[in-house]
């Protein structure tokens, strides 16, 4: 892709991020952090791309290491967020 569209995407995403995140209530700020953390694990895509091209022992180790780090981030982040959110319950007898 050309540079300019990427910069446009970057700037507009920051605005979307701001709009969406400010609507998250304080009650959910910890799950927001762990959940957005999992989303930042999207760098797993980059890790897969470099690992797919590597052809040497050191380069393979390096890129697979990146895959491992990003996978921990993705799997752990989504799972722990789910675990937390499962605990949030509404009161039973709401008058």
């Amino acid at each position: 892709m050309d540079l300019l569209p990427l910069i446009i995407i970057f700037v507009l995403s920051l605005f979307i991020g701001y709009e969406v995140i400010t609507k998250v209530p304080p009650t959910l700020h910890t799950p927001l952090m762990s959940g957005s953390n999992a989303i930042s694990g999207i760098v797993i895509v980059g890790a897969i791309i470099i690992a797919s091209n590597s052809n040497g022992i050191i380069s393979t180790i390096l890129s697979v290491f990146a895959v491992i780090l990003a996978t921990i981030n993705v799997v752990g982040g989504f799972m722990v967020t789910d675990r937390m959110l499962a605990m949030f319950k509404k009161s039973k007898n709401k008058e």
Binding site: V24, T27, V45, I48, L62, I68
Partner: protein, 465 residues
């Protein structure tokens, strides 16, 4: 590897990004949040699959091995971590995300398919390497401090601000040098990696334990920004979109936290707050009288109240008394009392931490009220019960412009008709300021371990009828 045009690839990435945004949007309410998190994880799965299908030619088995190792570790971490340890977990995940972004950038310049000559690609590599490496070591230090492996007290090197300034300037110089195609050298990259890893340690090490929530939120933002940087390196839009979403999220949370602590970000980052050994400020009028009462009296007050607000602080979590407070609250609710919880933004060890700890103890989320919602209600409340919170209830923050906590948003506990404070002793809070709330006529101190006190009150209230 299949022949997939980059248009089709990008359409799938757009789908992933859309699911991320909808997922985050659904975090606007606890009722939809779990579903939102699942949507986001489906978005991630789509991005991973399309990437493998398009790019993976050789090394498929290595990538799968990476998934298995990372997956098992991630699963284990997410399953067995205690809810009180959530800040550490987020810190360590930040480290991994930042580290992965840095490696992607470093790899791209070390093993290029064709020599990289574009100034913008080189600059992106420098940027992602620096931010990713700083996030990596900084998060590890934050993890160590939160976990208690490293002293949570600020560690202050002499001339540290000058040292950091020199390091930062050097990093910028080498980052620019790496970015200029005719000048660029792989050695500049090695220098950048080394210096960035060092400065990541140096900026977190002088920061005190109580300021860690701000640091973790900021590093969360960095890990997103590093991911966006890696996206510019690889010309990959889904990395840029997701990275900037997370970057924005971390920055917003950082601002919320610094505001709630009445500090500027610069003040937190320059570090050193809380370095002095314990605060001894209150020695002047040690003997000021407070009303103290026993669990029986406290139970009497609570048992006949129509409305009660609990004000939990981190002391509650330290005493592991979340379940006991919920039991007491349920007992009161059965008697027809109106019960709510007032949660200050810095009540836990990270934004929203106290809410998670109470949710774990089965406290319904609609009873958890934040500062803006609850502050007007104290006036109409019979009893406010403060458990393990101190500075965030100090009315001095509203009235005394000479106080270090002046201007800090506080819970207006002093407006309630009666106040019961559960506390171990009269020691001052983190800010080292005497809490005027404790000396009010309407305030009653119940000294002792929070868990025992709450259990005692519950028992006595049961005996009332």
């Amino acid at each position: 590897m299949l022949e997939i045009s980059s248009n089709i690839e990008n359409i799938f990435y757009l789908l992933s990004a859309t699911l991320f945004i909808i997922g985050l949007k659904r975090l606007a309410s606890p009722a939809t949040a779990r579903n939102g998190n699942r949507l986001a994880s489906i978005g991630m799965l789509i991005a991973i699959i399309i990437t493998i299908v398009k790019y993976t030619n050789t090394n498929f088995e290595w990538i799968i091995l990476g998934f298995i190792i990372g997956g098992i570790l991630g699963l284990a971490l997410s399953r067995y971590v205690q809810m009180t340890a959530m800040p550490q977990l987020v810190a360590i995940f930040n480290a991994f995300g930042g580290g992965a972004s840095a490696i992607v950038a470093i790899y791209t310049i070390m093993y290029p398919k064709e020599p990289i000559t574009g100034i913008f690609t080189l600059a992106s590599i420098a940027f992602a390497t620096v931010v990713g490496s700083v996030t990596f070591t900084g998060s590890f230090i934050a993890f160590g401090k939160l976990q208690g492996i490293i002293s949570s007290r600020p560690i202050l090197l002499p001339l540290r601000n000058y040292l950091n300034l020199i390091l930062l300037t050097t990093i910028i110089v080498f980052a620019i040098a790496l970015s200029i195609p005719n000048l660029s050298s792989i050695y500049f990259l090695y220098i950048l990696i080394g210096l960035s890893l060092i400065i990541g340690i140096l900026i977190v090490i002088p920061i005190g334990g109580a300021d860690m929530p701000v640091v973790v939120a900021l590093l969360n933002s960095y890990s997103g920004i590093a991911g966006a940087g890696a996206g510019f390196v690889l010309n990959n839009p889904v990395l840029i979109i997701s990275g900037s979403l997370v970057g924005a999220s971390g920055l917003i949370l950082t601002r919320i936290m610094t505001k709630a602590m009445n500090r500027s970000l610069a003040n937190v980052m320059l570090g050193g707050v809380g370095a002095e050994e314990g605060s001894t400020k209150s020695s002047s009028d040690e003997n000021r009288a407070v009303n103290s009462l026993n669990t029986e009296d406290a139970a009497m007050i609570l048992g006949y109240a129509e409305s009660v607000i609990f004000v939990p602080g981190y002391g509650l979590a330290v005493a592991q008394a979340q379940h006991q407070i919920n039991e007491l609250a349920n007992l009161l609710k059965d008697k027809g009392t109106n019960v709510k919880y007032a949660i200050h933004p810095v009540a836990g060890r990270m934004p929203g931490h106290m809410n998670v700890l109470l949710a774990e103890a089965n406290v319904p989320y609609d009873e958890l009220k934040d500062l803006d919602e609850i502050n007007s209600e104290f006036v109409r409340t019979d009893v406010a019960v403060v458990v393990g919170a101190n500075d965030v209830t100090n009315p001095t923050a509203r009235t005394d412009s000479s106080s270090p906590i002046y201007g800090m948003p506080i819970l207006n506990v002093d407006k309630a008709k009666t106040v019961i404070v559960l506390k171990r002793s009269m020691a001052s809070g983190f800010a080292g300021v005497e809490n005027e709330l404790f000396f009010l006529e309407k305030t009653n101190m119940l000294f002792g371990d929070a868990k025992d006190s709450i259990e005692g009150m519950t028992r006595e209230i049961r005996n009332l009828d």
